[in-house]
């Protein structure tokens, strides 16, 4: 245990800034650039009093990871801190377009509160679509990702087609690193549409909630079997991708899949993971429910307590690790997002897990009617009748007006963990993110201290579990491999 004498003898000349916590008997230390170290209590005391032997491995490790001040300390920290926060300089790269709010599914958790299939007033028109693309290319960011979200975008196919073609054409002049992603339930996909998307290098992503029973429980589709439709197209598209890019690209695209964890998933986690592996996926993204849209009306059917989700996550991660011990390369994307921060000290474009979050400064969401929101979550709140996160409209406001305003600045401030009570001294501060939209939805305030904050409770538990696992060398090697493999799939911006 720490004592006053040790604290009084703090060697301020050699000890650099660090945060700490006692975790499973050892002290976990982190610093501003996200480096970490585990020290036994004896070594921790030696470290803070400057009594570690300089020739020892522990001292050298702490020095290398910039916990100990030496002549290179300042210059190295400046460089690494800049690198960790380099996304601040670029502007929004992720642009979410809702070409329609119509959907042919009635998912129990629909965060977007999708509308009826025949309500065409929820479709984006061509003129709005053109203005959206023009606005997207005004971003100062060299990397641009256009992501179709819904509703089900296949229901407004002519506008999807126009946006893809217009963006590709426009990019011949703009020469940005352009990625286009298409998120669909695939239920009304056909060969022609698939070939168009493949020919235009559009990444296709679908919702897959695991095994057939779990998926169809969550994703209600009255015109057929949602699971079978999705799986059928996943296989078809993967096959077409492979044929198209065979021998041309080292890492040809594959269909991506997103899972939303509901109460039904908790007990079925093994079947869910097995289904993903069986279908050839290398990753799963064990996302928890958000308190938006229809999810709020289905409490008894789908919700769980934070503790229940945390238990589920730990079990699922252990199961995934077990698969890796057996030689199967498979990882959870949420774990990898944190591991990239922990092991590589970088922040990827997982925008609600970042400080400050991506709202406005990293992403923009364009609704079918041209309304622009800080983020997709902000757009979801709008569907619930609250325009709190609306930045403007594409027909009335230019790019600068959409970004340079008080709302954007407030969200940025609210999601910055630096200096915020409960975060500033927190050992996980370099890794954790805040979602002001989540805070607003649950606590009616974009600022919400971590204590009593359910999202924080879950995120902290996940990070802590990853650190506990990291103490084992075998796990660390597996985690490092996950991060390295994932890097070929992501844009670092």
């Amino acid at each position: 245990m720490l004592d006053l004498k040790t604290i009084e003898k703090l060697d301020s000349k050699s000890v650099g800034f660090f945060r700490f916590k006692k975790l499973n008997g050892d002290y976990l230390l982190t610093n501003d650039i996200g480096k970490y170290a585990f020290l036994s209590e004896t070594d921790f005391k030696k470290f803070i009093t400057g009594k570690l032997n300089r020739k020892e491995k522990i001292y050298q490790g702490l020095k290398k990871n910039l916990f100990i001040k030496d002549k290179n300390y300042q210059a190295q920290l400046i460089e690494k801190y800049r690198d960790k926060n380099r996304f601040l300089k670029f502007g929004p790269s992720l642009h979410i377009i809702v070409v329609t709010l119509r959907c042919n599914h009635n998912c129990v958790y629909c965060h977007a509160s999708a509308g009826k299939t025949d309500d065409k007033s929820l479709d984006m028109d061509m003129a709005t679509a053109k203005k959206v693309v023009d606005n997207i290319f005004k971003t100062p960011n060299d990397a641009v990702a256009i992501e179709f979200q819904g509703g089900e975008p296949l229901l407004n196919w002519p506008v999807v087609k126009f946006i893809v073609q217009y963006a590709r054409e426009k990019n011949k002049l703009e020469k940005k690193n352009l990625q286009i992603r298409f998120v669909s339930n695939l239920s009304v996909m056909d060969e022609e549409k698939m070939n168009f998307l493949l020919n235009n290098e559009v990444n296709i992503c679908t919702s897959l909630d695991g095994d057939e029973e779990t998926h169809n429980y969550n994703r209600v589709y009255l015109d057929g079997n949602s699971f079978k439709q999705a799986v059928n197209w996943i296989k078809k598209i993967d096959k077409a991708y492979k044929a198209k890019y065979k021998g041309k690209k080292k890492n040809y695209y594959r269909v991506g899949a997103l899972i939303t964890v509901t109460r039904k998933t908790l007990a079925n986690y093994k079947q869910v993971i097995d289904t993903y592996i069986k279908l050839g996926f290398k990753t799963i993204y064990l996302r928890y429910l958000n308190p938006f849209g229809f999810a709020l009306n289905a409490k008894d059917k789908i919700w769980y307590t934070p503790e229940e989700y945390i238990d589920f996550y730990k079990n699922a991660l252990d199961y995934i690790l077990e698969k890796n011990y057996q030689g199967r390369h498979f990882y959870d994307f949420m774990a990898v997002t944190y591991l990239i921060k922990i092991l590589f000290n970088k922040d990827i474009n997982n925008l609600d897990m970042r400080s400050p979050c991506g709202a406005g400064i990293g992403q923009l969401a364009y609704n079918y009617n041209g309304d622009v929101y800080t983020c997709d979550e902000g757009r979801m709140i709008s569907r619930m009748g609250d325009e709190m996160f609306k930045l403007g409209n594409i027909n009335k406001n230019n790019f600068e007006q959409l970004i340079n305003n008080d709302l954007c600045k407030s969200i940025c401030l609210a999601s910055c963990t630096d200096g915020q009570a409960g975060y500033e001294d927190n050992v996980y501060q370099p890794y954790i993110g805040i979602c002001p939209v989540y805070n607003y939805s649950v606590y009616n305030n974009i600022f919400q201290a971590p204590k009593n904050n359910v999202k924080y409770m879950i995120d902290e538990a996940i990070i802590e579990y990853l650190f506990i696992k990291l103490k084992n060398r075998k796990n660390k090697d597996i985690f490092t491999e996950w991060v390295e493999k994932s890097q070929t799939r992501e844009i670092y911006r």
């Binding site: 703090l10 501003d32 460089e79 919700w303 999202k455």
Partner: protein, 172 residues
Amino acid sequence: MTDNKSFRFKIKDNLLEFKINTKIYSLSAVYQAAYLFLDKVYILLDGDPQKEVVVIMKEKSSFASASAKAMADKKASEDKEPVDLEKIAGEFYNELLNQLLREKVSQTNAKIREYIVSQALYNAVPNEVDELLKEVEEEDWQEDPLGIAKTWEEQNLEGKKSKKGKMSKKGK
């Protein structure tokens, strides 16, 4: 009533009370430590900040950790055991030491951290002043076609020199 001499705290009617010497522990360390217990107990700080702070804690009727709108109906609190105030007191004392160390580390590194962050972000984000300077440098004012950037002396001296030159030419 529990009166623990070694730790010097009292527990009565679900109220935990203890005193902290502010000559040993700074007020900010007390605040920070108290903050970490907000989810478990209600906290009142009293006493004389110059000498001794009195910390009074009251058990929350229900553990409000799962207060999210959507999760409210399934509060984790329902299954939780009541808060052990004696344990809380011990944890608070430990946390005071942690906070004291955090405060010292933070204070002794404050200036260098400020410098590092400002240097790192100064170069990461395009600076408005830099942009303006760049614009100014790119402008053609340095050519000064109207001669307005010259001082009175420069203009007159040049004028005289040229007049002299011309005159001398003429004289020749």
